[in-house]
Amino acid sequence: MTNTPNVLEVKDLVVHFPGRRGEVVKAVDGVSFNIARGEILALVGESGCGKSTIAMSVMQLVVPTSGTIITGGEDLTALHGKALRQARRRIQMIFQDPFGSLDARQTVYESVVEPLIIHKAGGSADERRNRVLEALDFAHLRPPQRLAAVYPHQLSGGQRQRVAIASAIVLGPELIVADEPVSMLDVSARAGILRLMVDLRDRLGVSYMFITHDLAVAWVVADRIAVVYLGRIVEIGTSEELVAAPAHPYTKALLAVSGGDDRTGEIDPVSGEIIEVLPGETPSAAKVPPGCHFHPRCPRYAELGQPEVCRVDDPVLHLTNKSDVKSQTHEVACHFPEEPI
């Protein structure tokens, strides 16, 4: 065991899938990041960007093509059988759909006790019962004794997601992977679930890998944000840095639409043309453009007269002083990070 403060270290993660016509689908194409103890890292990006595949790799639900995923000093990608099962206890997952992720025929108690049974953890039946009730109480499912006996159909979406959270914390994990945990909930229920996640971090010291398409939510919940585009992290930094001083044009576009202050759909007074937030659509991961993955849609590339370097060279993440000259946390993958566009 090493003495690192990180609960998760992902290095050079690559996940390629074979496509139907023999092409290679580059779902994740070289991603590295760490999550410290008690830290919330948000992975933000659009569907198909690879953020959920990164989560699946960390859960070992897909087998990475290459790269390492280190937790508790062990590389998950090198573990099998019992050792992998042991290591998995440290990482739990919350899924997007609280209507699909709970077994309709199991009571809340049965759902939450199941991880303890599978991992032969939690001691005697009485001790297990106490752990489950404690987890329900932590998840604000109160009174826990009463809620333990109900079935999912008797619960609202927000309450179901609390059950999923109780199941995730009952084993005492170091890291919870939360994949869009509020996007299927009603607006009024979302804040409560997000507050609960932050509250559990504060009380239990658990870390989160929080996957979301919503940059504004990531901003208020996460300590750091990684923006993912076509299988790569294009920008990473503290939430404040990234929102106050975005260095990548894709981050800027996401911020503009999330803040509602882009001018999409308005008519440009100079050109008379309709303003688009970004031209075109995200290319398929089976047809990743050469050079910078983003260059065909990049307003900066267009504005700078289509420099060759963007078409040829793949930019790597490097520190930027966009937000603060001394920042050791703000990194961007762009050949022209200082450009104002």
Partner: protein, 328 residues
């Protein structure tokens, strides 16, 4: 000039547990060329109200009170045969998740053509085909891609096709139910901007039904907020949500909580409180204000007397005892 007038409409569902009133004495109107948003969370009655306009309610639902008048025609009680010619030509509906409703084994231009020729039986084939290409062009799909199959398009593009199809017979009113919910943020912005462009170009009136206030703010002139089957507030979008230079002036605590629920990238970096509890069970008799159990400002009177809509400013109404003077 009023295009659609919904006057005192109530809609009941017959269920195995008795009758449930999903929409309870709701009135609203849409002017020609105007865009109105209906906001609220699941179960508030917004979709039921929208479906009542083209008479597309489920079998077990009935309009129990009130009237719906579209372009001078009273709709409630019309037979299918009487309503059919009005659908697509006067009012079109884009359903939630509509992009998944395209026929997967038929090219998209054929599907739109079918919508036109079904309603305009005597139309010239060349004219109809030209209109298909024009419609696709108006939603940003090039003629070269008109004969694609749905699976060749992304979700955002399929939603554009559905919007093009809904406009096939040049309706005066388009009702769109959560048209952007399943889409990515950038595609959402593109679809909403498309709706804005179409309104300008086609002189279209729009009802946007959504739980997403940001979408409504972007597209709609006015907003109607529903809660548990009733309208709790309505007014100009710019007034209720505020603009870059003015603060929101939403008066109802429910509207205020909806606005606060989504973090504002221009505001404070804090997580909203959120609402606890749930909307009331509509199959039960509700006494007092429907929002009372979840309201941070609840008073005695709220548990006893149901508030009615009162005018706060011209065109801005809210149903809350905090503003109607009952409290004092």
């Amino acid at each position: 000039m009023i295009l659609l007038e919904i006057n005192d409409v109530s809609i009941d569902y017959r269920t195995e547990h008795g009758t449930l009133r999903a929409v309870d004495h709701v009135s609203l109107h849409v002017d020609r060329g105007e865009s109105v948003g209906i906001a609220g969370e699941s179960g508030c009655g917004k979709t039921t109200l929208g479906l009542a306009v083209p008479l597309l309610l489920a079998q077990n639902a009935t309009v129990a009170t009130g009237s719906i008048t579209l372009d001078g025609t009273s709709l409630v009680g019309l037979s299918e045969k009487q309503m059919d010619p009005l659908r697509w030509t006067k009012v079109a509906f884009v359903f939630q998740g509509a992009m998944n409703a395209l026929n997967p084994v038929q090219r998209i231009d054929r599907q739109i053509l079918e919508a036109i020729t079904t309603h305009e039986t005597s139309i010239d084939a060349g004219v109809a085909h030209k209109r298909v290409l024009d419609l696709l062009d108006s939603v940003g799909i090039a003629p070269a891609r008109a004969s694609s199959y749905p699976h060749e398009f992304s979700g955002g593009m399929r939603q554009r096709v559905m919007i093009a199809m809904s406009l096939a017979c040049r309706p005066k009113l388009l009702i769109a139910d959560e048209p952007t919910t399943a889409l990515d943020v950038i595609s959402q912005a593109q679809i909403l901007s498309l709706l804005n462009q179409l309104r300008r170009a086609e002189d279209l009136s729009l009802i946007l039904i959504s739980h997403d206030l940001a979408a409504i703010k972007r597209v709609c002139d006015r907003v109607v907020v529903m809660y548990a089957g009733v309208v709790v507030e309505s007014g100009l979008t710019a007034e209720i949500f505020g603009t870059s230079t003015t603060a929101p002036s939403a008066a109802h605590p429910y509207t205020q909580s909806l606005i606060a629920a989504h973090p504002d990238l221009h505001g404070q970096r804090v997580l909203a409180e959120g609402l606890s509890g749930h909307p009331p069970d509509l199959s039960q008799v509700i006494v007092g204000c429907r929002f009372a159990d979840r309201c941070p400002h609840v008073m005695d009177v709220c548990q006893r007397v149901e508030p009615t809509l009162v005018t706060i400013a011209p065109g801005h109404v809210a149903a809350c005892h905090l503003v109607d003077g009952e409290a004092s």
